[in-house]
């Protein structure tokens, strides 16, 4: 039942999730780790932030926006 598992994924919460406020506090640091091309390094250093970005649409959008801005202005 595909729909149920989609819903279950949506409802699932990650106890490591740091929330929006803390995520935004360190987003610039995280983005540079991602940009430095160390696969998985950013998520390993900041698992709570990675969990949050996977779950929070708006913060995930800000992450992609900041990453795009940094890459476009290197």
């Amino acid at each position: 039942m595909t729909g149920w598992f989609e819903l279950d994924r949506f409802l699932a919460t990650d106890p490591r999730d740091v929330g929006c406020e803390q995520a935004m506090e360190i987003l610039h640091v995280y983005v540079e780790l991602v940009q430095d091309d160390a696969p998985g390094e950013a998520a390993r250093c900041y698992p709570g932030l990675a969990a949050h970005l996977a779950a929070c649409g708006p913060c995930g959008e800000d992450f992609h926006g900041l990453l795009a801005a940094v890459e476009a202005n290197r």
Partner: protein, 249 residues
């Protein structure tokens, strides 16, 4: 987990290389890169040097704001002069925030990366506010018919999802607090973007997310108690959930 117990995460080892001085200038630590140090020096300066740095930073922020609004063009209907006006507002407000918080830059990243974050957040906030200028949804209406499509439930599964939606609806009514129910209905059923809901409820992104976080946890437990199988937490937590149904509508 209560709403205030979202996990805390250290910002990691920080370069404490900058300190505010009594005259407003910023001491630059030894490990800040040269370009960042120059930004801090000129922005902490007085007179023409500072004015020039502010103008240069504003120009940079405006370029970032315009780029970000272009990048998000599929998520908003704004075009032309109105779009550029939002870019200018975002750049101006970000510049104010950056100069007010200059002493909080700790050299953990390049200065520009830190500064760009402010303008990206301003773009998000301004798009959230703009949503209510031409609202396409009613905040309180409960559009339960939207749910199957939202979660990819096809017509072949109609009987199953009818039972599931009935069960979920009961859980929303019986398990959630009034505020959790309101936030869940607005975001999941009515497709209100989270940042727009922030504006409507006079709240902030973190508070709305935490409300939604607790609602999700309660609803999942309620459905599991009714016999709906759950993915393992490892699997479920590794998959993007995107708590902002409105972004995809």
């Amino acid at each position: 987990m209560p709403p205030d117990d979202l996990a805390a995460e250290s910002t990691g080892p920080v370069n404490d290389g900058t300190h505010s001085k009594a005259d407003g200038a910023v001491d630059v630590g030894p490990s800040v890169d040269a370009e960042s140090a120059e930004w801090l020096r000129t922005l902490g300066d007085t007179g023409l040097g500072r004015e020039k740095a502010l103008a240069q930073l504003h120009e940079l922020l405006l370029r970032i704001a315009r780029g970000e609004l272009r990048r998000r063009s599929g998520q908003h209907p704004i075009t032309g002069p109105e779009l550029d006006d939002i870019a200018h507002q975002a750049a101006g407000d970000a510049l104010l925030a950056i100069t007010a918080k200059l002493d909080r830059f700790r050299g953990e990243s390049r200065f520009t990366t830190w500064a760009y974050k402010f303008v990206i957040l301003e773009v998000s906030a301004k798009l959230g506010r703009h949503f209510w200028q031409r609202p396409t949804v009613a905040l309180e209406a409960e559009d339960w018919d939207r749910l199957p499509d939202r979660f990819g439930m096809g017509p072949a599964e109609q009987t199953q999802w009818h039972d599931l939606v009935t069960c979920l609806r009961r859980a929303v009514d019986e398990e959630l607090t009034e505020r959790q129910r309101r936030v869940f209905v607005a975001i999941v059923l009515n497709g209100v973007p989270l940042d727009a809901l922030v504006v409507q409820l006079g709240s902030n992104r973190n508070a709305i997310y935490k409300t939604m976080f607790d609602a999700r946890r309660k609803l999942r437990a309620a459905l599991a108690a009714k016999g709906y199988p759950t993915l393992s937490d490892d699997v479920a937590s590794g998959v993007p959930t995107d708590v902002d149904a409105g972004r995809r509508s």
